[in-house]
């Protein structure tokens, strides 16, 4: 999901690295300010004590979705230039579950572990080290798993194409999902949270 300015040809490879660097710093800064550099806060969502992470992520999704949708509809942006990761449904489901396990056990996801590590938290550094070791192992065994890695390809598909419904309706459906999710999250925090005492 890259910004389309690079593909419009507004700048080349070198400048795009600088832009990525600046965006990365900004991303990390706001994650930290949101409290996402703290493993306890991140893990609290799994106990329904604090669903900030869920709310922030879903807010980001619908903000970006509505922004991109309207910018494209009024013609300021060419949506076909925005890169879509191709879908490989089975390997990506397994990968998602693995990431989920790692998130619950370690208290971080890859991005937040970097934030945590640079703010001097030892658990974040250990987590980051684990990521590097994991990447190395994955790279080494890749020839063995490459068939699985490339199995069940579905191409660069969107939900709209998969279910054959217009984009506008999908946008509305996701917004409804988000609002429902926020309401449910607030409810869960009140009803189900605080039952497990934080260590």
């Amino acid at each position: 999901m890259n910004a389309p300015f690079f593909k419009y040809g507004l700048f080349g490879d070198d400048v795009s690295l600088v832009v990525a660097f600046i965006i990365g710093i900004g991303f990390g800064f706001f994650l930290e300010r949101g409290g996402f550099g703290n493993g306890r806060k991140l893990a609290a969502q799994f106990y329904f004590n604090d669903l900030t992470v869920f709310k922030v992520m879903f807010t980001a999704i619908i903000t970006a979705m509505i922004g991109i949708y309207y910018l494209s509809v009024i013609g300021w942006m060419d949506l076909s230039l925005v890169y879509l990761n191709p879908t490989y449904i089975v390997p990506q489901t397994i990968g998602g579950l693995l990431l989920g396990f790692g998130f619950v056990i370690g208290g971080y996801c890859p991005g937040t572990s970097c934030v945590s590590a640079v703010t001097g938290k030892i658990d974040g550094m250990v987590y980051l080290l684990g990521i590097v070791v994991g990447i190395f192992i994955f790279g080494e065994i890749f020839p063995l798993v490459s068939n699985f890695y490339n199995s069940t390809p579905m191409g660069q598909i969107t939900l709209s194409q998969l279910f054959n419904i217009p984009y506008g309706i999908l946008v509305f459906a996701v917004v409804l999902m988000a609002i429902g999710g926020f309401a449910a999250a607030e409810w869960a925090e009140k009803k189900l949270g605080n039952k497990i005492v934080e260590p």
Partner: protein, 217 residues
């Protein structure tokens, strides 16, 4: 109505805003532009007029020999023709698939077809879609065959011509061609089969099915 809205908490106001924008989206239509474009015909005409829109066979040969990789070479002919012969490092993109082919707006794209007509038409399509650095191989593959693969020199050539021929001979050999002395173009290309694809250029492995560069988060 206004008072009710003002009394809501900030979160609820934002949720309401998202709801309204989502509701409008249902009627606002498809965000993808599809295949229609607007183009500045005057600007394109000026570019064509200045003939800065093509590269010669010799230039392209030089780029390939130097191992330049800052451009994409697209072969617009059929798969059958592509498999018989193509310029090394070329990627097969039939004209009808050009719209879906992953290209960047800012990369240098060189197009060629058998003659020059298809590549000129494809050039126009890509320029209209906003690709800035699109070039065609002047004279197409026919010119490439004449100038690079089977260059020829008359028996009674001047010293200047001979020197130029000596240079192009090396280029020709690099691409697996065979330089000719004497004879006319027709005789030459009728006699000689196209070079095998495993030519010393090295990089002629079929690249059509090549996977797109990985990118993303």
């Amino acid at each position: 109505m206004k008072n009710i809205f003002l009394k809501l908490s900030m979160n609820k106001k934002l949720a309401l805003l998202a709801f309204v924008l989502g509701l409008i989206a249902v009627f606002a239509g498809n965000p993808y532009r599809g295949n229609s474009v607007t183009m500045d015909t005057k600007e394109l005409a000026l570019i064509v007029d200045k003939t800065v829109d093509h590269v010669s066979a010799e230039e392209l040969a030089d780029w390939i020999i130097q191992g330049k990789s800052d451009f994409k070479l697209l072969d617009l002919r059929t798969e059958k023709e592509f498999n018989e012969y193509h310029i090394s490092s070329a990627e097969l993109v039939p004209l009808a698939e050009l719209n879906e082919y992953p290209l960047l707006r800012n990369e240098k794209i060189v197009l060629y077809s058998e003659g020059g007509i298809h590549s000129a038409q494809a050039w126009m399509l890509l320029r209209a879609k906003g690709y800035k650095a699109v070039y065609m191989l002047f004279g197409g593959l026919e010119e490439w065959t004449d100038k690079i693969l089977f260059p020829r020199i008359a028996q009674n050539a001047t010293p200047g011509q001979t020197a130029a021929f000596e240079k192009i001979k090396e280029v020709s050999k690099f691409f697996g061609g065979s330089p000719q002395v004497g004879g006319t173009a027709e005789e030459v290309s009728a006699k000689k089969p196209m070079p095998k694809l495993e030519m010393p250029g090295g990089t002629s492995a079929p690249t059509a099915g090549k996977k797109k560069k990985k990118e993303g988060c």
